[in-house]
Symmetry: C2
Subunit: 484 residues, 2 copies
């Protein structure tokens, strides 16, 4: 049994496997150490079961929630087995089950599930241990009534009344899915609105959609206590208590905690913080040469696709170290598979505010309900495209799309931002009719109209504010959206 | 009443209204002459009712076909009234109902519906009269059993058994929609396959989907005769006759005929042919200065979005004649809202074969069913992305996507082709997971792998065939697809 490898990858989730398979295919001997299941969160407790559930809920609805949930587990198990088998068979790749810790000098000690330890060594070590759901205690709530994304797909039947603590991506996706399966659903969030890390318009659209589907939303509220005998969850809001009755399950989706413990990061001297995770440069390099980190355990990735993208960069760094390593890490797109979907690309609002004077910005919003014919034919209830661009030049900074299959529309903007293509270029594109994408045409139309009808003012504003310092409190002076 | 205008537009369909509204908004007095309904085919007998029907069929299914069809008419009528009102109220725009004919020297004579004529004049005349369904006679088939896209949305209930003559875009869209509404559906086409203007892989996917949904397909077949007493359509295939029983409606969707008659084209000296329509340059200019043509009446447009795009180019030509007029007309994307959808961008196969040696081409096919995780979670049955690119450079020539919301995915490729972005650029894009768009990543991966693992051969092929003449019969030596 080999103990010396080219690279050791800790964690067989999406990011870790991207590195491992990439290097193995290049002929490098790689060990992958996994504590639980091949495929990590994505295959086992994340993207795959949640998207299967969303699809099943759409297809079977309230008629067959038991069948839907069984199918979720069947497909998850089948994929896990297939991946475990495939990666186990891959040339140059050794899959080792156990818990890994760094032991310094390129060594990794693996605590084996059958007992005992094994010491491996490699020139390169990649930490891809991911994250886990953060759990908050609720007085009186027993463990068998508590769910997280790690346990929710194990339940056999749809809850009678599912209380979801948290209004973020996971909370939203599961709220819509379980509502379609017939559950009564209540969302409780301490934030002033659901999806509070996104634009207020996103929150408004999802809030409206939740309520239209009969989901109750309690904002600026928290779970106070649970009365098991009465199956009642007590919610506190502004000092007032409200009793949610018949709550048989409470799903906690209030955020994630990085898996940093027991890894020997201190021993190895790897710089990290509990809040930001393992510190890396844009190519995944940690403070210790030869040790890399990618995915949820780092500061910049919270998605499978970003973990994969980081994995590709690490493969490039390890396998082709002579290639220049100057490209900044891209802005990763986001996708939330709610109903409607939410997808974003480009800079976050905070990053825009830090870099640009607010008077340099133009925001265009096109409503997909009233401004596209597809919205009309399809009886769309909520949807828009919102673009923040630089005045005059039309350089695209940030895009948010809410609507059906927004996740399939966002890559056009990711590409445009990556290649520096302005709204003038998007104006020239012919979009098929009738699609929601034709809303992109309307965004470009609105930008051109606003720019050409006030060209002198736009030119002046551009020259005046191009190099101006951002406002001290940029968010307060954020321009109001102009409808395209 | 004004009789002299800046521009006269003949036909108030999508293309004509694009020109009229564009010029009116620029302050030019415009007359629009319409023989029937504002909105043309798109609003009245095309995109809008068909997409509403597709949506309604998806939502209501076989439970409520009568409600679905009533809703189609309600939404169509509401939109028609809204558009008629809005365009009638627009400043600088005069909407005149009647039949127009060119009378030479910038004059147009309008035969009014109430009788009498009116002569208008303008410096610019735009012909946008569109097309109509081509009707073929079927022995014994009475008029009230015969449907085209102009009459199909008038029926009150879903047919018991709908026979569709024609396997093109309209035939496919309506076959899936009526099948979902509970009709028995049979498709009869003289072509060897449905969607025979697309790649054979498109035909195979739609054929499989039709059959899986219980639609019978008769290829290389034609409608021989109809027996009204027995409600039987007799289909002839390779000399054999097959009787389709219980056929209460026959939808004829075998192609379109351009509305060239009665326009006075000969009088005005406008060059045209019944086969190719009115001849224009890439900015819609006909053989007569001051007379333009756009949309279905020309050779290059068969879609609302292409008619609109042509309309924009004409507006540019008329309103800003000093702008350079050199940009070639783009390759218009296509979208078919079948189940799954079909969308294409870039050159047609014939155009590729005429320009490039087949050995210069690389075709990449990524299967969305087996090669994307979204295909797995969503139980996708048919779907793929097929890209034809130049070897070595990765320049994208042509793209076909089959899958859910393919019409929303294609604009990324339209943009990439327009801006000359190669597959190397698409490789760098981070696509949200799990989406069908991540298949684009796999296309780029496959291209890079094929190129980098055989770089010497690719370089040789590129240098050898870059300026080589295309093969005399290029289609015969077309490369077989390599799976990504």
């Amino acid at each position: 049994m080999r103990d010396s490898f080219h690279t050791i990858v800790i964690g067989a989730g999406s990011g870790g496997l991207t590195v491992a398979v990439g290097l193995a295919n290049l002929g490098k001997p790689v060990a992958v150490i996994e504590a639980l299941h091949v495929g990590g969160d994505c295959t086992n407790v994340g993207c795959v079961p949640s998207k299967t559930l969303i699809h099943q809920a759409e297809e079977r609805g309230a008629h067959d929630p038991i069948g839907a949930l069984a199918e979720v587990r069947r497909k998850r198990d089948a994929l896990r087995e297939k991946e475990t088998h495939e990666f186990g068979e891959l040339k140059n790749l050794s899959l080792i089950f156990g818990r890994a810790r760094l032991a310094g000098s390129g060594r990794v000690v693996v605590a084996l599930p059958e007992g005992g330890e094994r010491t491996l060594s490699a020139a390169h070590i990649v930490i891809a241990t991911g994250a886990r759901p953060r759990v908050i205690p609720i007085a009186g709530l027993p463990a068998d009534r508590t769910l997280t994304n790690e346990s929710v797909f194990e339940i056999a039947a749809a809850p009678r009344h599912l209380a979801i603590i948290g209004g973020g991506v996971i909370g939203m996706e599961l709220a819509f899915a379980f509502r379609k399966l017939g559950s009564q659903v209540s969302v409780i969030t301490t934030a002033p609105r659901v999806m509070d890390r996104f634009l207020p318009e996103v929150s408004a659209a999802l809030d409206a959609s939740l309520r239209a589907k009969g989901v109750a939303v309690y904002a600026e509220a928290s779970a106070h206590s649970y009365d098991e005998a009465r199956a009642t969850l007590c919610v506190e809001r502004a000092g007032q208590l409200t009793a949610l009755e018949g709550v048989d399950y409470v799903l906690i989706a209030v955020g994630r905690e990085r898996n940093l413990e027991g890894l020997g990061l201190e021993t190895a001297g790897v710089r990290f913080s509990p809040r930001e995770g393992i510190a890396t440069d844009s190519y995944g390099r940690t403070s210790v040469p030869g040790i890399y980190a990618i995915g949820d355990v780092t500061a910049t990735s919270a998605f499978t696709h970003s973990a994969n993208a980081q994995g590709r960069r690490v493969v490039q760094r390890i396998a082709f170290p002579w290639l220049p390593a100057r490209a900044p890490e891209p802005f990763y797109p986001s996708a939330t598979f709610s109903d409607p979907e939410v997808a974003t690309a480009g800079m976050r609002q905070q990053q825009i505010a830090e870099r640009f004077h607010p008077k340099l910005l133009r925001r265009i919003r096109v409503d997909l309900v009233t401004q596209t014919d597809r919205g009309y034919t399809d009886d769309l209830r909520q949807g828009f495209i919102m673009v923040d661009a630089l005045r005059l030049t039309g350089q695209i900074l940030s895009v948010t799309i809410v609507g059906p299959r927004a996740s399939e529309m966002i890559p056009l903007f990711t590409l445009a931002i990556q290649e520096g293509l302005s709204l003038y270029k998007l104006y020239r594109v012919v979009y098929p009719y009738p699609t929601f994408s034709s809303g992109i045409q309307k965004v470009a139309d609105a930008f051109l109209r606003a720019t050409l009808t006030g060209l002198r003012g736009e030119l002046f504003a551009y020259l005046r504010y191009r190099w101006a310092r951002p406002a001290p409190d940029a968010s307060a002076s954020w321009p109001t959206p102009s409808r395209g």
